[in-house]
């Protein structure tokens, strides 16, 4: 299948995720983040956070609602059955705490074919309720045998 590179630069509707304390705890428990700042409000306050703070990789939770429609976009036409998550980068800024509202915007940054495989690169930029950037993600998906 030929890829339509005219879609490079396409942006998607922003998605706002409201961060709950119990969701941070659930995520921290699942990935083994036992630092009390991810579980206990007093420990978080003592460490200088506004409230219980999310582990850095919680970015995948609050950006999922913005990433989903991009990856599923029929105009891009990713064959999900043949898709692999190839690589991932995050750059972190302001910490994310319980009570924050994080808005994520996604853009298709690149798509290309190389050696029979298709590469789709998305960038997500997440900001908190004060406009401070919390994380910037580069998501590279590979479709085999495209």
């Amino acid at each position: 299948m030929k890829i339509d590179t005219s879609k490079i630069g396409k942006t998607y509707s922003p998605f706002t995720y409201e961060v709950g304390l119990e969701k941070i705890r659930e995520y921290a428990n699942a990935v083994g983040e036992s630092n009390p700042v991810h579980h206990d409000r007093a420990a978080a306050h003592d460490a200088g956070f506004r409230d219980v703070v999310a582990p850095p990789m919680f970015v995948v939770v609050y950006s999922a609602g913005a990433m989903g429609p991009a990856v599923l976009d029929p105009e891009i036409g990713i064959n999900l059955m043949m898709m692999l998550h190839g690589s991932q980068e995050f750059v972190w800024g302001e910490p994310v705490c319980a009570g924050d509202a994080i808005t994520t915007r996604v853009e298709l940054k690149d798509m290309r074919e190389d050696d029979g495989r298709q590469f789709f690169v998305f960038e997500s930029v997440s900001t908190n309720q004060d406009g401070a950037e919390t994380a910037r993600g580069t998501w590279t998906n590979i479709v085999r045998g495209g």
Binding site: A30, V31, V61, W92
Partner: protein, 127 residues
């Protein structure tokens, strides 16, 4: 922390039901992670770990090397390669590549036995 230093290794064994808990925590319910029969039907050995769970272990390793303060993890870049599976120990190891201007760059890999489930991982931590 100096260039060439080996960092404290992180070992973790995801139990049989970890992919289910991670699915609930992350919202990623792709059946290849939680349904062994579906996974086998698409050519996998069984249900497999979420790549982003493995990346979270590398993040935990890197912030641990920075003294456990999540604010000190500034950047993490990984390549997903071979699949990870539950009920087998993951080992995350790494070395300091360079230190400049209060930031250490560390090279990291996550393995299960001889399988490298994450490679070419590079983290930047404030030191």
């Amino acid at each position: 922390m100096n260039a060439g230093d080996d960092l404290p290794q992180l070992d973790v064994t995801p139990d049989k039901y970890l992919p289910h808990r991670y699915a609930g925590a992350s919202g990623d319910f792709n059946p290849i992670h939680i349904d062994p029969e579906f996974a086998k039907a698409v050519g996998l050995p069984g249900n497999i770990l979420h790549g982003l769970y493995a990346m979270a272990q590398v993040a935990r390793f890197a912030s641990g090397a920075a003294g456990g303060d999540p604010r000190r993890l500034k950047r993490l870049s990984v390549q997903f390669r071979d699949i990870g599976v539950p009920e087998q120990e993951i080992t995350v190891s790494g070395t300091v590549k360079e230190v400049r201007d209060g930031t250490a760059v560390i090279d990291t890999v996550a393995t299960q036995g001889d399988t490298r489930i994450i490679r070419n991982a590079e983290a930047e931590i404030a030191v």
